[in-house]
């Protein structure tokens, strides 16, 4: 791999990314009790995406990789499509009244977080 950077520069890059990832991990851990408590799931996934982006770009040397980048984007698109369709399907569940799956949920809905 042709690189113009020196060893020290590259090492500094690794540490910078490390600090960024550690900060984001800290945010992950405190977020549910500190801010945006109603949107925990969304915030957590957003942080995950940012971390993943940093890892892919810097640790996995994806910057400037056109062919590989396009392949990854294609794969991500497919996963996203599977998600969207299956989510549309499950959000329009039409058999809630008769389904065994959902009726059990309502009867068990009262269970608490302190089971064990």
């Amino acid at each position: 791999m042709a690189t113009t950077k020196t060893y020290e520069e590259e090492r500094a890059g690794y540490y910078k990314v490390l600090v960024g990832l550690l900060v984001l991990t800290a945010v992950t851990l405190i977020q549910p009790t500190m801010f945006l408590e109603n949107a925990t799931f969304g915030v957590q996934m957003l942080i995950g995406v940012i971390k993943a982006w940093m890892i892919v770009m810097y640790y996995m040397h994806m910057k400037g990789e056109k062919l590989i980048g396009a392949s990854v984007i294609f794969a991500m698109f497919l996963v996203a499509f599977f998600f969207v369709i299956v989510m549309i399907d499950v959000n329009h569940f039409q058999f809630g009244d008769v389904s065994h799956i959902t009726s059990e949920v309502t009867s068990a809905g009262g269970s608490s977080a302190t089971d064990h």
């Binding site: 590259e10 851990l29 925990t40 640790y59 949920v105």
Partner: protein, 232 residues
């Protein structure tokens, strides 16, 4: 396969210009591209698994939050940091290898192996605690239709939790095996600062393992974190 050193062939066009032919031998980009394609299959595999998870999260929202609240965030968070640092050591190892410091590279690989073992150890402690609380694959609490069964959603949550963290753990174990093999190859001087594709791909693999954890961790440990302050 060929015992002779590989010399690229030259193709000549009609004007007499020469073009070097890319052979399959010593093709660094080819090796890298091939490994990325392999990693795409991992992305599809875990992607489909997250899809199943999201499917049941949608159907059993409250059960999932409750179950998530009962996981041990201290140990999980600790493991996240361990894995994060191991990704750094792996990357630094590759950097040292590329700049000719073979000894330093080997040291960094050993450090990565050590951190991976720490990760597995913490995982084992976590699973043991869960087993002692009666929450484990095959125990009555995670079987549908019994009096002591948990609600459907929680069964699904814990079932997927053990499946996915288990699968992730298998990837870590495979990674350790591959790193030991890499050390062997370095000692045999099959992996050198001039010819380090195996080291490069293994670093990619380790980043992928880290990448999966980046999503596994919040999805299981953090979605219900607002309900309790962690731990059992």
């Amino acid at each position: 396969m060929s015992d002779h050193p590989y010399v690229p062939e030259i193709a000549v066009d009609r004007e007499g210009n020469e073009y070097e032919v890319q052979g399959w031998q010593g093709d660094f980009f080819g090796g890298k591209f091939g490994f990325w394609l392999f990693m795409l299959t991992e992305i599809m595999m875990f992607g489909a698994m997250f899809m199943v998870l999201t499917y049941y999260f949608t159907l059993h929202h409250d059960d999932f939050i409750n179950a998530s609240a009962s996981l041990n965030r201290t140990l999980g968070g600790f493991n996240t940091v361990v894995l994060l640092i191991s990704a750094l050591t792996m990357g630094l190892g590759l950097l040292k290898m590329r700049h000719g410091d073979v000894k330093g590279a080997k040291l960094m690989i050993w450090a990565t192996i050590l951190l991976a073992i720490v990760f597995l150890g913490v995982k084992a402690v976590e699973w043991t605690a869960e087993y002692n609380h009666g929450v484990f694959l095959g125990l009555p609490a995670l079987q549908g239709g019994l009096p002591e069964s948990k609600p459907f959603g929680e069964i699904m949550f814990f079932g997927m939790y053990f499946t996915m963290t288990g699968l992730h753990g298998v990837h870590i174990i495979i990674g350790i095996g591959l790193m030991l093999w890499l050390l062997k190859r370095i000692n045999a001087e099959k992996v050198t600062p001039e010819h380090y594709i195996l080291h490069f791909n293994l670093a990619l693999y380790w980043d992928l393992v880290h990448l999966i954890w980046v999503f596994v961790f919040p999805y299981y440990y953090m979605i219900g974190a607002g309900l309790s302050t962690g731990g059992h």
